[in-house]
Symmetry: C2
Subunit: 254 residues, 2 copies
């Protein structure tokens, strides 16, 4: 029996029309789909009739499938000759442990292909109607996870010192400590935004300043999954917000 | 006459199947398409029969359409009631002056919608078969342009100090000075890669170390457009490369 293969497919932020054509084709070609739980449920409608679906959610704090078990499943199906399609939210190459999965599969001699997708930080910026890197404000953008494996936090002072837009993933539950830490380097008036469920029909956007973003997020019940965006470039979103007057985007304090 | 609108569509890195469904729908809905020159020529096959195509390339050093003229064209068509689709390579919200275009259009009272796409840094990582943020190596990734508006370079020491993967855009022509500058903070053995024409059929990948990446790129005639990737996470690409033995990915020096 020939060894199968694994395709890591990036499902994008949620709405199915933010999938790429290549992702949809890969999903249709799979024998077994392993689907993460931040992925739109409707994605299974794109599968082949014979394909089997296994949901392998891993949300922090909730009931979850351990990473080692997911990797074992992928190896097992691939070694049975199946084409395994592992579907991850956003872009599989930004956070989400694809690095470990790729290394594990290669170690087992299993071919891995990767299909890119739209990461939620990009979808958040699109919702806010801003560039992540408006050149009046910065030279780039940093995508960073607030959730480090050893329980510590990133070195916010060093990140703030770069002057770049910060796109902080998995930070909604500790937005108060993050904004406080960044406030030691950045001015309280630095533009800030938080977007929950970016790129889905449930998207909630909030624009404020570094000084009041935590209070605003709490007042509007903005929780995980959300992306926090900090930096001068987000100041363009503030204008956009007031121009469009969307209720969820009003600032609590002027 | 009603005012039209502008949709900024991200065309992704090149291959048409890396477009999102939403992008393809937006292109089909446009009356006028303004197409950047790093975008796949075949994208015009997705347009409506009546739609007009204007190519507005702006490659560094070559004949080009000035930014102000592009913005004037967009405003003019939109104010004539047309649906203008502005097509940019990669993701429109990462570099590429979308920030200025959005501000200009809003100032003129023109509605702007944004459709995300795959940026070339993500496509480069997919080609290399690595995560941008393998958690054994880093907490995130920095997307930075080497081409600053005032002719200076980013503060490489500060960026290197973050310990994150660096994805450097528009840096191929000065890869020697960039790698030298980063070498003051990072070890010469730090994994490094450069991917030209990422996400297209012409893709060329090269994996080396920070110390020899510039010489390798020169020896293999790797030039713009290319993404340079630096950091421990790229070490996983080195393994991938030697395992796959693709000629363009061999290192010149061991």
């Amino acid at each position: 029996m020939n060894t199968g293969k694994v395709t890591l497919v990036s499902a994008g932020p949620g709405d199915l029309d933010l999938l790429t054509f290549r992702a949809a084709k890969a999903i249709a070609a799979g024998d077994v789909l392993l689907i993460d739980d931040l992925v739109n449920d409707d994605i299974a409608t794109l599968k082949a009739a014979h394909a089997r679906v296994v949901r392998v959610g891993k949300r922090g704090g909730c009931k979850s499938t351990p990473q080692a078990f997911i990797q074992r499943l992928m190896r097992r199906y691939a070694l049975q000759g199946k084409h395994v399609v592992r579907i991850k939210g956003g872009d599989a190459l930004l956070f989400g442990r694809a690095g470990e999965e790729i290394a594990d599969l290669r170690h087992a001699g299993i071919e891995v292909e990767i299909v890119n997708g739209i990461s939620s930080g990009f979808a958040a910026a699109a919702g806010l109607g801003v560039s992540l890197t408006h050149r009046d404000h910065c030279q780039g953008v940093i995508f960073v996870t607030a959730h480090l494996r050893d329980g510590t936090e990133p070195d916010w002072a060093t990140l703030a010192a770069t002057g770049m837009t910060l796109a902080i993933y998995m930070g909604a539950s500790r937005i108060d400590s993050i904004s406080e830490a960044l406030g030691k380097t950045l001015a309280a008036g630095t533009p800030a935004a938080v977007v929950q469920w970016a790129g889905t029909s449930r998207e909630k956007r909030l624009v404020a300043t570094l000084g009041d973003i935590a209070a605003c997020a709490a007042a509007h019940d903005i929780a995980s999954p959300a992306v926090i965006l900090i930096g001068g470039a987000m100041g363009e979103a503030m204008e956009a917000v007031s121009a469009r007057s969307e209720p969820a985007m009003r600032r609590l304090s002027a």
